[in-house]
Amino acid sequence: MNKHWKTLLQVFWTFFKIGPVTFGGGFAMIPLIEKEIVDKRKWLQKDDVSDVFALAQSVPGAIAINSATFIGHRIAGVKGAIAAMLGISLPTFLIVLSLGITYLFIQDSPKIEAAFVSIRASIVAIIIYAAIKVGKSAIIDKSTLGILVIGTAALFFIHPLFMILFGGVHGSILIVIKKKLGYKIAYEKSNKKDSNEDGNDFFMGAGI
């Protein structure tokens, strides 16, 4: 029992240290995972890391948190998963909270207001940059381009939650129709080999 708790604490602490490194995307933590989890603790094989990241991208949620939860589960079951999730989330939670508290204190100062006028324009640029990054793996043929154009227009009238559900269902239907019509199916960009060979390809453009 005692040894079990020690493992959980180690899992928590390892991910607690990795947490602050997840600046702008979960892929930034791959080298650290390899160093801390594979080389130092030997909790995981190096080959497993790319599997974990591929899985982490195919379920909802942030890559960093999902992969931590997966690895935690491999090491010590459900309790390990929770320990890893808390470990990776806690540092950023505290950092975000203190930034938020600071902002609420200083937001009325004219200088801060002036700074945010400019920052708001930059945020639009950052979001467009994110869209372009996602687009590289999302827009691979005419059908996906069509979904993009119709989807963007439809969002002005339809709740985004429904659009996400619609996107998934629509994708499956489209593939079935294409198969029936005898098209060759390419689910992903064809210029890469097996996408699971390398762990750091942008399965969902989530490196941002």
Binding site: G24, G61, V96, E113, I123, I127, T144, G151, F156
Partner: protein, 180 residues
């Protein structure tokens, strides 16, 4: 009850948060304006602060929306709300599958989902641009300076591969010199 509303909203958002966080901005925005938690300007600021911290944008914005509506308890409740669905799904998947993305069904779902994720992000950009005077028929020194800041930020990100946090910090300094 406010805390329950926060938890519920972010739990649903967490369950569908595909595509790196930025796609969740319009979803969170829809919930925020439906519940009248804050104005869209305040929400833009929250996205800026979320981008200054490490960690995922979606979870960071949840924490900040929670904090500004219901204090530290609100932050904790919103964070748990957005994290819980992924933890549950990850546990489920980890128990039953080893390689989820090998299944054709999963592949075809993502085939349709990725363009929608891009739509969501573009929609978020359009909405922010409209509400922050970036797209405006009224041409003045103010609106054109904002367009220049927007253009330079995009250039820094695309051409020079700057990390978004540097763009935010530098843009803030430019704002202090230009607008105060």
């Amino acid at each position: 009850m406010l805390l329950w509303e926060l938890f519920k909203s972010f739990f649903f958002i967490g369950a569908v948060s595909f595509g790196g966080g930025y796609a969740m901005i319009p979803v969170i925005e829809a919930e925020v304006s439906k519940n009248e938690w804050m104005t869209i300007q305040q929400f833009t600021d929250i996205i800026a602060i979320a981008g200054m911290a490490p960690g995922p944008i979606a979870a960071n914005s949840a924490i900040l929306v929670g904090y500004s509506t219901a204090g530290i308890t609100g932050a904790v409740v919103a964070a748990l709300g957005i994290l819980l669905p992924s933890v549950l799904i990850v546990l489920l998947v980890a128990t039953f599958f080893r390689k989820l993305n090998h299944y054709p069904v999963v592949k075809s779902i993502f085939y349709g989902l990725r363009p929608i994720v891009m739509s969501l992000i573009i929609y978020a950009a359009l909405k922010f641009a409209l509400s922050n005077n970036l797209i405006s028929l009224h041409i003045s020194w103010y609106t054109s300076s904002l367009l220049v800041i927007f253009g330079l930020s995009l250039l820094a990100l695309l051409k020079f591969n700057w990390h978004p946090i540097y763009v935010i910090i530098l843009s803030g300094l430019v704002g202090v010199t230009l607008y105060s």
